[in-house]
């Protein structure tokens, strides 16, 4: 067994993983808008790595590297300088280096094209995205990267392993899950189950400062969508309380008032 994994190390130690990460408001953020509701108000907002990208894609990529199945893990982000602090959080988790394409999102077409161009030029064999950003909820960028690179996409991966060049992946499909095999190169979008959340250790945090973050200009500026305005979702105003000894009343209201049963 030891011999086998050593062999695997030697043969595939040039495999590089690219993890696109997104910079999103912390999950507890109270969302607000400014400028006549045309812009997200980021005053006082704590930004984090999108949870799917961090907990699932990134941690699994790092595990693969630690197991000797990949040589290098790079994070890439398409965004402005205010995202750099978030990229450095990824460094603290153990990523080797980071790239920021200096242009604002969130147009998925633009973001994906930039990432695909970078991945192609720099020969990344495996691209692991999160399944969705918790900000714009597009679930789009991974599949678009696959489209730009003409690579297979395995979406909603919940387990991922590599043996040499062959990936074995469990992923969610309509009505169930399936296990597939696919040779690299490929794109996977990662969901719950891939890995467990990690807390950066002291060594990681210290090392984060000195890791290289390369900022490059975007290629072109083709955006296909833009956001005109935002509206906060109306909260529920009143909760009708029903006595626990009068449950028939609830059933009655669900039928006659809410009309849902």
């Amino acid at each position: 067994m030891a011999l086998f994994s050593k062999f695997a190390n030697q043969k595939f130690n040039t495999m590089k993983i690219l993890v696109p990460i997104s910079n999103v408001p912390d999950t507890t953020t109270k969302i607000a808008f400014t400028n006549g509701d045309t812009e997200f108000n980021n005053a006082g907002v704590q930004f984090i790595i999108n949870p799917y990208d961090e907990w699932y894609a990134l941690v699994r990529a790092l595990e693969l590297k630690e197991a000797g199945k990949a040589e290098k893990v790079t994070v890439i982000h398409v965004g402005l300088a205010d995202s750099d602090a978030t990229i450095r959080k990824a460094f603290a988790l153990g990523v080797d280096d980071g790239v920021r394409i200096d242009n604002e999102g969130p147009d998925a077409f633009f973001v994906a094209e930039q990432i695909a161009l970078f991945a192609k030029e720099n020969n990344y064999d495996l691209i692991m995205t999160g399944k969705e950003t918790i900000s714009y909820n597009g679930s789009s960028v991974g599949s678009m990267i696959a489209g730009f690179m003409d690579l297979p996409l395995i979406s909603l991966a919940t387990k991922f392993d590599l043996e040499g060049n062959k990936a074995t992946i469990e992923h969610d499909v309509d009505g169930g899950t399936q296990v597939v095999e696919c040779d690299l190169p490929l794109v996977v979008s990662c969901a719950k189950g891939m890995a467990e959340q990690r807390i950066p250790n002291m060594k990681g945090i210290m090392g984060a400062r000195t890791k290289p973050l390369t900022v490059v200009a975007a290629t072109g500026n083709e955006k296909l969508s833009n956001i005109k305005s935002y509206t906060l979702s109306a909260g529920r105003t009143t909760c009708k309380m029903i006595d626990e000894n009068n449950i028939d009343e609830l059933v009655h209201l669900l039928h006659t008032e809410a009309k849902v049963i």
């Binding site: 095999e181 005109k228 849902v260």
Partner: protein
């Protein structure tokens, strides 16, 4: 020149697909154009139903390997049909297939995509505007796209399905599906199917429970309630993390986002990350023993008390209601 992608599931046209056809038909009406649907492995009755939902023309594709194998092949199939039909607006539903195929098609066709639209678009010349949920349902945003071809994926359960009397013209797909080009090999399939329950993203009625249920052995009453309502069961994240329930039941920000007509939350505190996945529900009922549980602030109806006594009473009450209905 509207194209709608549809799917069959368990012998029926998916509800989300009927919604997408309705939606496409409405856009066709708004833009004075025609509407074609794509049907994969559909039988005559299913094609008839798609016609009733508003498809004027249906391109049928018959290939048992196409679904669940490689979204690249599906995307190429839709691309060929879109080109042959001269489609300007392509509608998907924002479900597992739609999320895998629509963005790839967007990259291939340079077609702007709005992923998860919740209302009808307004169309002005070459510009299309439509709203979608952002920040996990905490807000909506109006997106605008100007590309020549446009793609909209529709959030399931955004509109009720309407069936009319229309009959569609059926034509067979004449393009090419190169199955041997795929590098993906399917090794094993597992179904989440439990007693024929409707899958969560499509369910209109959902009964969900959290850590307040104390342990997996107490889920009998939750299942009984779901069974009486013919609802689908769901759970909070810690419940799935502790393996009390399967992970596909986990709803919320990091789980499945749902918007059923009725969401009953039992022994769930209502943390913001949980709400993010369920606050689009039409009606929310909360059963909780803590009067300060945050979920009551996001509920339409609340019952304060012990779930272990309330849920069995609710089951009885529903049985009585059903008996009176018949």
């Amino acid at each position: 020149m509207i194209l709608v992608y549809t799917e069959i599931n368990k012998g029926k046209v998916k509800k989300a697909s009927l919604e997408a056809i309705n939606y496409g038909a409405k856009i066709a009406e708004l833009t004075n154009s025609s509407i074609t649907a794509i049907a994969i492995n559909a039988d005559a009755a299913q094609l008839e139903e798609m016609g009733k939902a508003g498809a004027k023309k249906i391109v049928t594709v018959n290939n048992e390997s196409l679904i669940g194998l490689d979204s690249m092949l599906l995307s190429s199939t839709v691309e060929q049909i879109a080109k042959a039909e001269g489609s300007k607006i392509i509608v998907f539903s924002f479900d597992i297939t739609g999320k895998a195929v629509a963005p790839r098609l967007s990259a291939r066709l340079k077609a702007g995509l709005v992923a998860g639209a919740v209302d009808y678009p307004t169309i002005n010349g070459n510009s299309l505007e439509v709203s979608k949920n952002v920040f996990s349902g905490k807000a909506t945003a109006v997106y605008s796209i100007n590309s020549d071809v446009k793609i909209i994926s529709l959030l399931p359960n955004s509109f009720p399905v309407k069936l009319g009397e229309n009959t569609a013209t059926i034509v067979d797909f004449s393009g090419n599906i190169n199955l041997s080009s795929t590098r993906i090999v399917v090794k094993e399939k597992k179904s989440n199917d439990v007693g024929g329950m409707i899958p969560l993203p499509e369910a209109e009625l959902v009964v969900s429970a959290g850590r307040g249920m104390k342990g997996p052995e107490n889920w009998g009453m939750i299942e009984e309630l779901a069974n009486q309502l013919r609802a689908t069961t769901a759970c909070s994240r810690p419940v799935a993390d502790m393996h009390w329930r399967p992970h596909h039941e986990h709803v919320g920000q990091t789980g499945v986002a749902i918007r059923p007509n009725l969401y009953i939350a039992i022994g769930i505190s209502g943390a913001i990350q949980h709400l993010a996945g369920v606050n689009g529900s039409k009606t929310i009922v909360v059963i909780n023993s803590d009067k300060d549980a945050p979920f009551f602030k996001s509920a339409d109806y609340g019952i304060l008390g012990d779930a272990f006594t309330i849920v069995p009473k609710l089951v009885e009450s529903i049985k009585k209601f059903k008996a009176n209905q018949n």
